[in-house]
């Protein structure tokens, strides 16, 4: 096998090992590469800063699967830190089954700032996808009589002043897609189109290109995509977390993948040129 042919056939185990190292080493020994805050994240942060006040009702949907936790967990934590600072009331739901437990895990660090029952409630799993969401927004007490632990919700201070969707100031969904839960499109349809409420989302980076048109058209008020979005939001909130620490790892991993792609292409082009000249491949 010639050198150029070898460049096109690097063993995938080599790629796997180098990729694992490129992620693990910067996580263990951070480089602290600087990064700027993009317009989307800045605008999303500013919208909450300007429009959400103390004791406003925020519907927070933890549409997070266990698999999406490393990416969506940091987004949720950063946004919840912002909301905790603003001392809002959060009504937590989950349109996917995993989300109930994710909500518990992600709420734990804020239990002091947002006392349970007073400033936060985890209503649990909202079944039925888009129809379930539609039903909940019209008459929440028809769908939930108790929170995720079976405690009656009507007497909770956090539920005071919450009759239906009209009382909600913003709907936030940290969303990993339509796999068992409500998708971004469904949130836009039910929240923005039907009830004319601001919909603010955090999502996996892989979903970002597909959801971009909703943000550009103004149907989404907030838009935080991927671990980079989380890192930028952490910067604005002033609470460096997993998002920020993952930036170096993501940089090196992206660079490594690009190097491999370039090597493969160099090999292919050299062989092509050599064949065109009618020479032997070295």
């Amino acid at each position: 096998m010639s050198t150029y042919e070898k460049l096109q056939a690097i063993d995938k185990r080599v790629i796997y090992i180098l990729l694992a190292l490129s992620i693990a080493v910067p996580l263990l020994f951070p480089l602290g590469l600087p990064f700027s805050v993009g317009a989307e994240v800045k605008n999303s942060y500013d919208w909450i800063e300007k429009n959400i006040n103390k004791d406003d009702l925020v519907l927070f949907s933890y549409d997070i699967s266990t698999g999406a936790m490393p990416e969506l967990g940091p987004i949720t934590t950063a946004v919840m830190a912002h909301l905790a600072k603003k001392q809002v009331k959060i009504i937590g739901i989950a349109t996917m089954t995993d989300g109930v437990m994710m909500a518990r895990q992600l709420y734990a660090p804020f239990a002091k700032d947002l006392p349970y029952g007073e400033k936060f409630v985890n209503l649990g799993f909202l079944a039925g996808g888009e129809s379930g969401l539609s039903s909940f927004l019209q008459n929440p007490y028809n769908v939930f009589k108790a929170d995720a632990d079976g405690k009656p919700i009507e007497s909770m201070p956090v539920m005071k002043g919450f009759k239906d969707v009209k009382d909600i100031k913003v709907m936030i969904s940290v969303n990993c897609g339509p796999v068992g839960g409500c998708s971004i499109e469904q949130w836009v349809r039910q929240g923005f189109v039907t009830h004319k409420k601001p919909v603010w989302i955090g999502l996996n980076a892989v979903m970002a290109p597909g959801s971009m048109p909703y943000y550009r058209s103004g149907q989404l008020t907030g838009y935080i995509a991927g671990i980079r979005g989380a890192a930028e939001y952490e910067t604005l909130v002033g609470r460096a977390g997993l998002g920020t620490s993952a930036m170096d790892a993501q940089s090196i991993a992206h660079a490594l993948i690009i190097i491999f792609i370039v090597l493969g292409n160099v090999g292919m082009m050299a062989i092509k040129r050599s064949k065109a000249k009618g020479g032997a491949i070295k």
Partner: protein, 206 residues
Amino acid sequence: MRKALPTAILSFVATIILVDYWFKVPVINNAAKDITTWVSLIANVALGLGAVNLLLVHSRHIRLKRQEWGNSTVLIALMLFVAVVGIAQSSNSPTYRWIYDNINVPIGSTLFATAAFQIASASYRTFRARNVEAALLLLTGIFVMLGKVPLGEMMASWMPTFAQWILDVWNTAAQRGIMMCTAIGLIIISVRVITGMERGHFGSGE
């Protein structure tokens, strides 16, 4: 009859939901509210049915000693164990939360993370500039990948803006086209389902 009755119910319910969206007719609006509540209830029942179905299917695998019946045994044992802990101590109990936070979440995250390795290997093997279109795709991919990480920003300050421009303009334009086509297709399929012309969702009836 096995298909006519469900089709009639579906058409009736769909008409109520459609009328509810466009018109203010109190009787219809209230009926639509009830129907959407039923969907939540039915979905909850369906979840339970799913669990029962899973148990039945895997019990059968074990009974007939089908291929990989050992996996079915592990699945049923763990499913029952977690269900018993959840029912006996509530899903907010320390034991249940420990199982979830220390077993379920790391396993789910690990499985999801393996995609990074597959994508890295697949990109290396398939991203080849064989023609102009492929070269353009390759360059776009590289710019977006670099523009979205701090390293790209260090290499050139214009990189993030350029990557964002690709996403905002070119990507959004293409996505809008796809979305509009999908929406039109969805309307057509919905009309066919409501009018009973489309019956594929009923299955073959076997």
